[in-house]
């Protein structure tokens, strides 16, 4: 009872305290929420500090044999995610999902490429993830015999080149040797060995090369069906005399641009190594690549080597220049970059004009299907056109816009989802240009629409030229008479193709692009006029035509200064 009394006393006092209980409950809730927030901040802070201290953890070993990007991806997940993102949201294999045909969109391309495989199948490009797959299914490859040189850029091939090179040099080429050292000499030798072999044979070599993950043959992106979807080899089994295709081939992956030991950006493509050395040996100024000019001032006791001589910022362009360039790539000769005279369009043309095939005949890419002229095919000279532009001159690299830095927590990561800067204007352009997104987009679209308008004119001039040449042929003009016309046709088509095959719609160097198209129009019209003359009657003499003499614009009597003064 006593206890009961003692409790009753305070309860009467408490009876007016529910407010106090509520206040205490409120304080409790606020303190709990506050603690949660502070803990969250603490954990984020901890995460950022860890990220800043340790940008990656090397959980998987990668070496010179690791063409499979999967183990790299375990060490560098952000970069691997970006690389995979070049496939888009989901991998769209198959002919139905191939991008739009350029031949349907621009019918004049069929006439430009008449007699060449590009007139069969030529489409808009897809992301890096598709490069090997799409090459396997394009009708250019499935319907026409192509050279293994095509795989110089479309496959991760350094191990295959090294193995074939070591084989040809009579040296050991087991997996351990292949994994230990890059061995540029062997890679170049292997490249020369396989460059002229047929595509299917080199593809089989690529498939059978070790990729660093033996027993794991699940490709990061799927493989194309053998022989493509259409054409004579579609769905057919591999002939028994072909080398056994085992293993897994990869599109260009980590090892093609990075040293597996140090992760530094590195040149691996033999074609580029030889091409840039030839450029350095020339006298052409290269203000956008100062390390070449520095090498020229040195003692030149060895060829220019980008992996030793180029700066890190230059390398962020040069690695792209391993493939996004003009080159010769077919069965008559080894793959070659035409940089011996410089990187300008005329200098590349002069290089090809001076070149002879091993049999001594003059160089050309294809005989035009309509006129029979021996003409050139421009590949995709992005590196060369960029070299003529304001961005290159200002020290802006390919990666600055196509792989801009992005923030992952406290880390700065170069985006490996290589794509058009227009898809990421924030990171790509605004690092330097203090303009809003709409303004920047409009600037780019202005440049591109002007280039496209000029290209349409050049295309009309080109088809008019072809018509005129065909008419001249039909009226009986001889090959000898047509030779100078063919020479003009070659120049006109090379210039038009140079800009239409280049993938920036003139943005990489806008004035240069319109200048080149202007020259194309001029050569097309010159060829057209010359072809017309071949079947036109002889021109009459124009000496006898009356000429208007120069007279004063203002009659003398109305002159503002009277003649009597």
């Amino acid at each position: 009872m006593a206890t009961r009394d003692s409790t009753r006393q305070p309860t009467s006092a408490i009876s007016h305290r529910p407010g106090r209980a509520m206040l205490l409950a409120l304080v409790f809730v606020v303190a709990v929420v506050g603690t949660l927030l502070v803990t969250w901040v603490l954990i984020t802070m901890f995460g950022h500090k860890q990220a800043a201290r340790q940008p990656f953890v090397r959980v998987a070993e990668v070496d010179e044999i690791s063409t499979d990007p999967e183990p790299w991806g375990r060490n560098w997940p952000h970069q691997f995610d970006g690389w995979k993102a070049t496939a888009g949201d989901k991998f769209y294999g198959g002919s139905s999902a191939l991008p739009e045909s350029k031949l349907d969109k621009y019918p004049w391309l069929k006439r430009l490429y008449a007699g060449y495989a590009f007139s069969i199948d030529y489409r808009e490009a897809r992301g890096h993830a598709y490069m090997l797959y799409d090459q396997g299914v394009t009708e250019r490859v499935t319907q026409k015999p192509q050279a293994g040189a095509c795989l110089h850029c479309h496959g991760s091939n350094t191990v295959m080149y090294r193995r074939e090179g070591l084989k040809a040099m009579g040296l050991a080429h087991d997996d351990k040797t292949l994994a230990s050292d890059f061995n540029m000499d062997a890679v170049i030798r292997g490249f020369q060995e396989v460059s002229k072999k047929p595509y299917s044979e080199v593809y089989a070599l690529l498939m059978s090369s070790p990729d660093g993950t033996p027993g794991e043959n699940e490709p990061a992106v799927p493989q194309p069906p053998i022989g493509g979807f259409t054409g004579e080899f579609a769905g057919r089994k591999i002939p028994s005399d072909h080398p056994a295709i085992t293993g897994e081939a990869h599109p260009v992956s980590c090892i093609d641009c990075h040293d597996p030991k140090t992760m530094t950006v590195r040149i691996t493509r033999p074609g580029f190594v030889l091409g840039i050395a030839a450029l350095a040996a020339s006298t052409e100024p290269t203000p956008h690549l100062p390390s070449i000019e520095k090498w020229r001032r040195g003692d030149r006791d060895r060829p220019f080597d980008p992996n030793k001589d180029a700066t890190r910022q230059e390398m962020r362009s040069l690695v792209c220049g391993q493939c996004h360039v003009e080159y010769y790539c077919a069965t008559k000769d080894t793959l070659e970059f035409p940089w011996g005279k410089g990187l300008k369009m005329e200098q590349l043309e002069a290089h090809w004009d001076a070149k002879k095939f091993p049999d001594g005949s003059g160089f050309y890419d294809y005989k035009h299907g309509e006129t029979g002229a021996e003409v050139l095919k421009a590949q995709h000279p992005e590196f060369e056109l960029w070299s003529q532009g304001i961005h290159a001159r200002s020290g802006v690299s390919c990666a600055d816009c196509h792989m801009p830095y992005q923030r992952e927590g406290a880390m700065k990561v170069s985006s490996h989802n290589i794509q058009s800067p227009m898809k990421n204007i924030n990171n790509a352009c605004q690092q330097c240009h203090n303009d809003d997104e709409a303004t920047l987009r409009e600037k780019v679209e202005t440049i591109q629409s002007r280039t496209m308008a000029q290209m349409d004119r050049a295309a009309v001039a080109m088809t008019d030229m072809l018509d005129a040449i065909l008419e001249a042929k039909a009226s009986g003009a001889t090959q000898e008479q047509l030779a100078p016309v063919f020479s003009l046709q070659r120049k006109a088509m090379w210039r038009l193709d140079f800009i239409s095959s280049e993938n920036s719609r003139g943005f990489h160097a806008d004035q240069e692009a319109t200048r080149i198209l202007g020259e194309s129009i001029d050569y097309s019209r010159q060829a057209q006029a010359m072809a017309l003359r071949l079947r036109a009657p002889k021109a009459p003499d124009t000496e006898q035509l009356p000429k208007e003499q120069v007279r004063g614009v203002t009659p003398t009597q109305k002159s503002p200064v009277p003649s009597d003064r």
Binding site: T11, I14, R17, R20, L24, F28, A31, V38, M45
Partner: protein
Amino acid sequence: MTEPPTAPATTADSAQKKVLSARAVTVLSVLCAGTLGVLGGLGAFTFGYGDGAAYLTNNPASCANCHVMQEHYDAWVKSSHHGVATCNDCHLPHDFAGKWITKGDNGFFHSLAFTTGNFHEPIQIKERNRRVTQSACLHCHADYVDHMLPAEPGGQMQLCVHCHGSVGHAGRESGYADRD
């Protein structure tokens, strides 16, 4: 006590409620004290771990504490004003109230932005902070440029940094600030 045997039901219920309420208050008080203690301790630790006190100083290195400003700090180190002006000299007003209000304002919103990750990349200066910077230029250079200032306060003019962007952050004009 737990089972009052005799009293009428209503009285017993109300008495029980009062007893419980008294106990609830006691329990709540203890809980509050406990959570406030945890909050205080964790808060103090987090403040220390995040080097919170550094933000109250003028030391430019502390601005790069939270990683985002690292490139801007690096660019300042290489700039021409490196020897004469620190972050606070250009990015905070020079009067006492203005300085601490701006510091608090930016400090809070910068922390919020970086913790949530919700901010524009590359980072861009806010309108208010741009005005602060412009006043900072004039704080030192007004004597040399007074003939270039608008006749009336608030009149239109180009900001000093429109042309002189690199004085505070080297490479700002050509965009090399974010390169390494």
